[in-house]
């Protein structure tokens, strides 16, 4: 079955939501001005979505691997595709590590290996069932997440101090650039991975619509979450290791409605399931197309096993993970989701492939 624009769009939104709930990095740069970075990164991401959409229009129903071969030729195309494969795989590792870190934060004595094996195994199940299966959960999870996020905001209405947003625009420009770059490269433009879903879309050139819908819904939720965190947490924003989770821990409605953070944990785990499944699927299809095999089963098993092994050993401690996310990850991601697509578009235009396809 082919995926509709609506299903894929909401799955892309769920993809952004996942990172929207882990917003610590941007607070380090811009504190009360973090919302500015959300708006700026949304605008910058629109440009990249336009680039991805153009590539999709020029090469309708083709996945990234085929586009690379068409644009750069067989050998260079394959090398670039292998790079993407590596990138998608590292994203699985990093996100699996994120969720293990989060569950480990709630259940400190649970070994990471238990969480990671259970998680990757569940995702591999979804991947085996196919792209449509993963995408069909997207709208449901997005609506449930939005409902929980709004509900949490409502319960915390008494803790809101709007003046915590002031003063605005007081940081040096470089910090706004760094914050915007972080948000663009990490949650927002990561939806680039949906390029691997193009062959399964109902509309062969519908990627632009999918990504635009996902980006808009995702960025709106991100903006809401960031503003909510700022106006509720104030200065503590800077020292909390899980700001969004800590906000929800403050909910106390008449001593009766407390400890609702389990809702957030449930949502985050569901969202992470979608995100890792999408990345897992992208990795498998990229690998299958690269080595030209139709047997996905072995690839799923090998990728799952490698993801668990590397996920457990990639960082020796949480602070290393944090340092990677804040410093290296945006630059690493930018190469694959900003620079390479731009290069692909430029090369395709120079080689006149856009006209040829038309």
């Amino acid at each position: 079955m082919k995926i509709s624009v609506k299903q894929a769009g909401y799955t892309a939104a769920a993809f952004i939501f996942t990172s929207a709930l882990l917003t610590k990095g941007v607070y380090m740069y811009l504190r009360q001005d973090s919302w500015v970075a959300v708006i700026l990164s949304f605008l910058v991401s629109l440009i990249f979505v336009y680039i991805y959409a153009t590539l999709n229009k020029w090469f309708p129903s083709k996945s990234l691997i085929e586009i690379n071969e068409a644009v750069f030729g067989k050998i260079i195309g394959k090398i670039i595709s292998a790079g993407y494969l590596f990138y998608f795989f590292t994203l699985i590792i990093l996100n699996a590590r994120d969720i293990s870190g989060f569950v480990g934060y709630i259940l400190p004595t649970t070994p990471y290996v238990v969480i990671m094996v259970a998680f990757i195994y569940t995702c591999s199940w979804a991947v085996r069932k196919g792209a449509w299966n993963i995408a069909s959960y997207g709208p449901l999870i997005v609506f449930v997440s939005l409902f929980v996020i709004m509900l949490n905001g409502l319960f915390l209405i008494n803790d809101i101090e709007l003046n915590r947003l002031a003063p605005a625009f007081t940081f040096p420009p470089i910090k706004y650039i760094a914050g915007t770059h972080l948000l663009t490269a990490l949650p927002l433009c990561e939806i680039f991975v949906f390029f691997m879903f193009v062959p399964y879309l109902q509309k062969a050139d519908g990627l632009g619509k999918v990504l635009f819908r996902g980006l808009t819904v995702g960025a709106a939720a991100l903006l809401f979450i960031v503003i909510r965190d700022i106006v509720i947490l104030g200065d503590t924003l800077l020292i909390l290791s899980q700001p969004t989770y800590s906000v929800i821990r403050l909910i106390d409605v008449g001593d009766i409605l407390t400890r609702v953070e389990i809702l957030y944990a449930g949502i985050l785990i569901s969202l992470m399931f979608i995100k890792i499944s999408v990345l897992y699927y992208a990795t498998i299809t990229a690998a299958a197309r690269l080595v030209k095999t139709s047997s996905h089963d072995y690839l799923i098993r090998i990728t799952g096993a490698l993801a668990v092994i590397f996920g457990l050993s990639v960082f020796s401690a949480e602070y290393e993970h944090m340092d990677w996310t804040n410093r290296a990850a945006p630059i690493y991601s930018s190469f694959f989701i900003m620079l390479l697509p731009l290069l692909t578009l430029g090369t395709a235009a120079i080689r006149g492939l856009n006209r040829k396809n038309k």
Binding site: P108, G234, T236, R249
Partner: protein, 392 residues
């Protein structure tokens, strides 16, 4: 088909293992629920004395309110107090396991009380554990006790089974007096991190009430960074809460010709307007708007009529102004910006803040403050005039 069966069995096995419950689950009868914490200065330098009040879950079912007793108590007790000393809270909590047969469990803790000596030395180290521990909650009340904090956990209870629950409910109820702050761990963290806002914590003591040891509120303990530097009485504390827009309801006695009335604050809203003066100083204009009704009155003069109500309102405005001015004077005397003026200046005039941040204490002491109070009348309750025959 065979594959399917294997898969199904594998999934069933995994699910049976994972869904049966956490492998490190903790049953109720293995946990020591901490309900209150007292932190005092230890005997030796750098030492902390930690006292934990833990609920005896099985005992609390049978015991009567007020029958709680401490460690040495017999059957029917509802709590146990355990104390130990050491250099770090985490270490002391672990060491307590030598004395307690259950795992010490803090998520249900309701209050953290610092002894005055400890508070004057600094509460940062004492709070660190409660801010850091994943299970602990930032909504717990933090207080300062005159004298030893551990004594608070020994108070006699009336309605609750444990002194810590009593104390929590006493602070919960302070929204009807608005003379004691309801400060949580999260509030203090925010204040300390702001660099200029001085935290205020409820200041309590133990009094001898006809042979019973009862908890009593004295007002608020004033801090600079994490160190207590003085305290405010109940009226000064309400003055501070007016400026912070945290007065909900309350009552004040207003003298009135040959009568007196308890003016009841039914609603209050405050605003602080900051402005920069030409001489480089800062001016704060505090505007309070409140609704006042008659709670009760003394004497036979009818206060609730068109002639006397404006007088009552004027008097209530005067009282509020006095309370706020008393709070400002005290805060200036202590050099502690309990009102968060510094934070507001940083938000409104970030450049000016950079200039004055270094000498903020001095600037704060020199600050011009203007208080404007406007009272609006509310009803007189179920009666319209005092219980006295009408004057013919």
């Amino acid at each position: 088909m065979k594959h399917r069966i294997y898969r199904f069995l594998f999934a069933a096995l995994i699910l049976a293992l994972l869904l049966a419950g956490c492998y490190d689950r903790r049953e109720l009868n293995t946990l020591g629920f901490v309900m209150g914490v007292a932190i005092d200065k230890g005997e030796n330098k750098d030492e902390i004395e930690l006292s934990l009040q833990m609920a005896k879950v099985t005992g609390s079912d049978q015991s009567e309110p007020g029958s709680g007793s401490k460690e040495s108590g017999t059957g029917g007790d509802s709590y146990i107090n355990v104390s130990a000393s050491g250099e770090s809270i985490n270490q002391i909590v672990r060491d307590m396991e030598y004395k307690v047969s259950r795992r010490i469990y803090v998520p249900h803790n309701q209050v953290v009380v610092f002894g005055e000596d400890m508070a004057r030395q600094g509460i940062r180290d004492g709070m660190d554990f409660f801010a850091r521990a994943p299970e602990a909650r930032a909504t717990v009340y933090v207080l300062v006790a005159k004298g030893k904090a551990a004594d608070i956990l020994e108070a006699d209870t009336v309605f609750e089974k444990m002194p810590s629950s009593d104390l929590k409910k006493i602070i919960d109820e302070q929204d009807i007096t608005s003379t004691v702050p309801q400060t949580t761990l999260y509030d203090i963290m925010n204040d300390i991190l702001s660099r200029s806002k001085a935290p205020i914590l409820p200041y309590i003591e133990i009094i001898d009430d006809k042979g019973s040891k009862r908890i009593n509120c004295l007002g608020s303990a004033v801090f600079k960074n994490d160190k207590m530097i003085g305290h405010m009485d109940l009226q000064q504390t309400r003055g501070t809460l007016y400026v912070l827009d945290k007065v909900q309801t309350g009552t004040m006695t207003v003298k009135f010709k040959d009568a007196a009335a308890a003016a009841e604050i039914r609603q209050s809203k405050s605003k602080v307007k900051l402005s920069l003066k030409k001489d480089g100083g800062v001016k704060a204009e505090i505007q309070v708007r409140q609704t006042v009704g008659i709670g009760d009155q003394k004497g036979t003069l009818n206060i609730a009529n068109a002639e006397n109500i404006p007088v009552l309102l004027k008097e209530s405005e005067k009282t509020v102004k006095e309370e706020i001015m008393a709070a400002i004077d005290k805060a200036k005397e202590l050099g502690a910006d309990v009102f968060g003026f510094g934070k507001s200046i940083y938000r409104k005039y970030p450049r000016k803040w950079k200039e004055i941040e270094e000498n903020w204490e001095e600037v704060f002491r020199e600050m011009e403050t203007v208080v404007k109070v406007k009272s609006k009348a509310d009803g007189s309750g179920r009666i319209m005039r005092p219980i006295a025959p009408a004057v013919q």
